[in-house]
Amino acid sequence: MNYYLLIPFLPLTAFLINILFGKKYVQERAHWVSILAVAGSWIVAVFTLLKVLKGETVNEDLYTWVLSGTFEVSVGFLIDQLTTVMLIVVTTCSTLIHIYSVGYMHGDKGYYRFFAYLSLFTFCMLMLVMANNFLQLYFGWEGVGLCSYFLIGYYFNKKSASDAGKKAFIVNRFGDFGFGLGIIVIFLTFGTIYYEPVFTQIGGVAAQTISFLGYEVNLATLIALLLFCGAIGKSAQMPLHVWLPDAMEGPTPVSALIHAATMVTAGVFLLARCSPIFSLSEPAMVVAALIGAITSIFAATIALVQNDIKRIIAYSTLSQLGYMFLACGVGAYTAGIFHLYTHAFFKALLFLCAGSVMHAMAGELDLQKMGGLKKYMPVTYATMFIASLSISGVPGLAGFFSKDEILWLAYAGPSPVGKFVWAIGTIVAFLTAFYSFRLIFLTFHGEFRGTQKQEHHLHESPKSMTVPLMLLTIGAVASGWVGIPNLLGEVIGIEHSNWFSGFMNPVLGHPEAHGTHAEEWMLMGISVLAGLGGIGLAAVFYLGRRSIPVLLAQKFGFIYRILWNKYYVDELYSHTIVRPTLWISQNILMGITDAKIIELIVNGVPRAIGGVSQHLRKVQTGLLQHYAAIMATGALIIGAWILLR
């Protein structure tokens, strides 16, 4: 029984119903269709999880899509431990965020459209994670990119929103170009694009080199780096990170689902899925680890000074994605996926809380105009506080376990850059705690700094929004309990408490770690101290003396300006890529190619036809007998040709 087909195709059905009948028939009931479908997917996903726990994995083709010579692609499904984790993450977050959207999007003009896109996104994401070949992965990959574009630009009347949508789409092109090339190289090398044969044969060709752009490159490194290009585009890593902060123009549920919990983690999923390829290429691994580390500290420092509530969380997402890349780069794929899984819950929760705050503040995003919301929105405050504790790595909560595992494996693993990325990771842990609590303190504590009218409007969000918040809080707290480090497990008396690592072992292998228990305890202590230190410092700055941050900003004005302007990356791209492209487009493509060459052809052909026709039309006399005479002449010629030849 192909029971698992229900997982992707239920949301697809919901999409079709909403997009085809939404405007006229479904209208305000659109959420029922989508929520029922996604919840159905969730139930089947849980069922699948139970099957996989019993050791039943699936790898089969459903339908041959392309068959051309030796090139064969099917719509096929691979369900193993990695897929199952992603299925649970995607369907859980998607279901809760669908429910949340009922309250959040209430009364919006494009209500049915919103739910249609959300369902389509869920379908594409599920196809992406369930693929058993690279092309279907690519299909899902582009599908989620498309949905992301639709949903970022959901308020398409707003110029900044439609621009942000285009930016996300175009920046992703850069990454996907590499990804596409990677798939082509895989096909050229192996003659197939199915995971299974590729991963079993990769060991045999790892030492081969291939000529790429005139250089002899190691084959495994080339494939890994090309796939990595796609991953950094989708997961918004340096240097293609610029689209994610702008993507916050979309509705908040979209930010939570697509730009925090699921789509942006597709890059991490790709790295984990292709771990057999990456593991064979040390350069690619180092690049992944360094890019992850640099992105995480880069984004964390920017987040320190921003005032836009959603952008802070977006930079936090960038930073956490950097963590996951860092984990994959040091060979700790399991830890990366574990962090993906815990991060999905607490980051979706942070976004939804931010949405709830925006809802109360009538769309206001500036932290400096908030404050003291604690007494108006207790549920939002409590859930967001727990999420922030979780992301800060406070022991016992989900974020602690996954972050700690990454840091420990980075430190103790075999990677040549392991110690370096560990150091950066620890600093980032400190910064993360600091900016997360800066957000909490500025939003919920102190006095309200907005206008009277805004203060009057403050209220707790409706049940449809707070219930998903509370459910996600459970995830933000408890989702890490499946991966308690064995060291801690021994203390509290559970053997093999890092159950998650064992579960993923068949797919991702077991990460190497060489270190003593004392070292592990020490590292854990350091990261906990970093987290608590960040929280403490934020409390001093923003609960105690509000004058300190202002003073610091004045004293280190130069650094503050750099951070405030996000290291001027957008400006750099604008000057080096966007403007030259525009110049070439306007002056060469539009000015010469279009105006001179294409216009000449386009206008010349009809003009030539018109000129010839002016003469040819004289043949048409309109006199009946002339036509008849020509017909008779034709008969004469044909007859003569038959009889006299």
């Binding site: 007998q625 002339h626 005479a629 008779a632 008969a635 004469l636 007859g639 009889l643």
Partner: protein, 172 residues
């Protein structure tokens, strides 16, 4: 000898009448010569042992179609008709085309070879009369085309009514 004489008479009269039909200035005269022409063609059919065809040639062509033509001709302004040129300007070209076609077809007729004869010889037809022989084939092998012919006629009736009907003027 006698059949050839008869045929010669019919052939000459038919050709002359045809020429008269297409060259007369007055359409009424054309139609009248046409009537005479149809009678001679009917005579030729009798000569070829096709009594039934000869009968419907007279009934349908002479009796129905030509009367229709006469009605329509009388609608026209005959006075004006008599004043203007009867042919269009390029008639010599048309003459050349027609004569070339004529030569071509006559040339083709010379090379013709006949298929083996069927089983409806003159004696066989005369034994059961032409109408019965034709009717047997028409109502057996050609029943379906025959029914279609009736539909064609029905459509012609309706079509003629629709086309020739005067448009109802609106009450204002």
């Amino acid at each position: 000898m006698l059949p050839k004489l008869f045929f010669g008479y019919y052939a000459v009269v038919i050709i002359v009448l045809s020429l008269l039909v297409v060259t007369r200035k007055n359409p009424v005269h054309s139609v009248m010569w046409m009537l005479l022409l149809f009678f001679h063609i009917a005579g030729l059919y009798l000569f070829l042992n096709a009594e039934f065809i000869a009968a419907i040639q007279i009934i349908v062509y002479a009796g129905a179609i030509l009367v229709l033509f006469l009605f329509v001709v009388l609608l026209l302004n005959l006075r004006e008709e008599l004043l203007i040129e009867r042919f269009i300007g390029t008639w010599p070209t048309a003459l050349v085309i027609s004569v070339s076609l004529l030569i071509l077809v006559i040339r083709a007729i010379q090379d013709m070879a006949l298929a083996p004869p069927g089983n409806h010889s003159v004696d066989a037809i005369q034994a059961e009369t032409h109408t019965v022989a034709l009717g047997k084939i028409l109502y057996t092998d050609y029943l379906f085309p025959f029914e279609i012919a009736s539909v064609v006629l029905l459509i012609a009736i309706i079509g003629a009514l629709v086309l020739a009907k005067r448009k109802m003027r609106s009450p204002q």
